[in-house]
Symmetry: none
Subunit: 222 residues, 4 copies
């Protein structure tokens, strides 16, 4: 067995890392670059420099810069999905608990930090006219929206909240996620992940008063 073949097993060092590993390296390079230079300031060179790879690899592994960027968005979206799916995996949780877990999943440092928010809003900034990006996002968003709306529905039933449309609550939550992300990105001095979580907790406690004990504010970053 030659050294090259050993290397090929995916340790990621040297010229023969697995295809998948190289793709991942490039996606990470793209994230780093976008967070540093913005989407418009990101070039194939900034991406590959960040990944410490040669420029030729982008087209070799992704076909084009554009495809790599789409994969990068897909990667972030997937990472986000993993985060909230994981947080509600425990089947023993009550609906309110699960809903709160989804809320919190939006504000864990791993997902909600300046670097990644910069990337997210870089893509949002183009989503207005570039349908492709919108499609990638909506795939993920739709699933989460369904789950959230369903949990709200269960909470409404549990609490017997008349006059509350669970879908409206789910919509409001979506608004909070994006709005607070943007505020965290642009005004990090004035608005923190902690603030975001507590504003949403207050909203939920007020909306579902009979579940308010489940939406207690948190004292500090977990």
């Amino acid at each position: 067995m030659s050294a090259a073949i050993v290397k090929n097993q995916g340790d990621g060092v040297g010229r023969t890392a697995s295809k998948e590993f190289r793709r991942h390296q490039l996606i990470m390079g793209a994230i780093v670059s976008i967070s540093k230079f913005g989407l418009s300031g990101t070039t194939v060179t900034t991406i590959t420099s960040a990944a410490d790879l040669s420029v030729g690899l982008v087209n070799f592994h992704f076909g084009s810069k554009q495809k790599l960027l789409e994969e990068t968005l897909r990667f972030l979206a997937g990472e986000h999905r993993e985060q909230w799916r994981e947080s509600v995996r425990n089947s023993g949780m009550a609906p309110a608990e699960k809903l709160l877990a989804i809320v919190d999943a939006h504000f864990v440092p791993h997902i909600c930090n300046r670097d990644k928010l910069t990337v997210w809003f870089g893509f949002y900034g183009e989503a207005g006219y570039r349908a492709h990006y919108r499609d990638i996002m909506s795939e993920i968003d739709a699933e989460r929206w369904d789950v959230s709306a369903d949990l709200c529905r269960q909470i409404v039933e549990e609490g017997g909240y008349e006059n509350i449309d669970p879908e409206h609550v789910a919509e409001s939550l979506e608004g909070f996620y994006d709005g607070f992300w943007l505020n965290i990105l642009i005004y990090p001095e004035d608005f923190s992940r902690q603030d975001a979580k507590n504003r949403i907790r207050t909203y939920l406690a007020t909306t579902f008063p009979r579940h308010s004990s489940e939406f207690r504010t948190v004292a500090q970053e977990d």
Copy 2:
């Protein structure tokens, strides 16, 4: 008064429009271009084509493309400010009424339409790493935040709402604005200006129950 003199005052036809008029034309061209091609897809040529002017004018009137873009952002921000300032000008309004007027000012068609939202999020997408844009935005945002927080404070006093921090409410409103804007931009089929206004009304009515009659939902676009 001759036609020529009228013309010279800035009807914008021919070589003799006023400087201010040309600047405005170019800013409008920038908005159209960004909404069509995105911020990164906007070139001096797309801007001047949209404005039906020659490319040289961008540098002649603004010094650089970058400066024109900054002025464009400033223009949007100013327009937004005029909108909400105008809406609370009537000194006879109650605090809750004024607050609602500010809310609604975010969702008038003149401000909140796909074209302009595309431009806004184009800039937000760069604001993460380009401090200059952030500075232009925060100037405007700060003022509105102060006014909103003050109105919330008055409502809290009026209603004797204990345990409600007016600044937290103002923060939540800011979150709603940005979050709903993004949802209107990306999912226009699923989420309308109308929806946004009603979700916020519900939030306010729930938060300030003794003022709920002032936060009635609206039936359809005004």
Copy 3:
């Protein structure tokens, strides 16, 4: 008689200065601009700014920027010619005296200063491939060469200098003029007009030893 007509007499103030005066203003603007920004850094705008006139006048009075530059070169050449012609006008001077007067005419502050040398070498720099400039220069140079060579011939005859070709002396003088101008331009700290004049005096005194008393070095700038 209207005010406009009075103005037209050539005081150079206001909108109706004589054609000739405007042309002169623009030529002076060109000299100032070239000395400040070089020939390649000189634009119609830098010229007209220096002359405190509007850009349109260049094409109005000269037809094109290029024509103005040619006139500028012609102006400098003419100025130079006036200088040495004037210096030998006195018919009572001896040939050696006249020759020295021509030499000195090259190094009077009015002709030989950083600003004007910058302009001269700006044109020389293009003369290599632009025949037009060369033609303008040679017109003037030829006349001076003839006069100088003739004076040298007279000195050779006076002194009975065998083995001295007067044309060779004239050639050497031409070399000194240009070479010392360049050194004054590029190394003003190390080489002065005074130095130039004295190096040439020494050359002439050595070459024409029996006239050496007429080529005494000068102690300091006149």
Copy 4:
């Protein structure tokens, strides 16, 4: 050794010439272009066309057109230095012989031809106001001046020439070099390299009469 390897070492054909070779190609392209179109008429396109390379390479290899031009000047200056250094390398030469070798080094066809003189005066034309060019030139000039002045000093001592300042002779020589270069450039019909060398020889023979046999005029181009 295979042909491919030879190629790779820099024959300049195809996409694989060495970096150094490409830089040299571009410098040569710059010289050709400047001699044909002048410094101000030289564009990245004229340079790369002359070098038969694509426009992108200028920025790839030099960072900017300006840097390439500076390197071009440095190249010429270096070439000139090599020429005169080489000419005085033989330690057995007498000072007068060495001095004459330096003189002649200025007028070898390889250095002193219309193309290169055009380039030199193109740069001189900007040196008046662009300190960067002046710095590059003076580095080289200073060394040569020191050597020349030192040789003159030795000749003065050898010949016991009282009243002769060796530095003044060195200054006069510098004047001759530049002045004759300009005359060769502008009046090639009337003034040749041969003329220049002989005028300087006569100057030296007259100045250092006891060494005159060492400064005999040359009959024709070597």
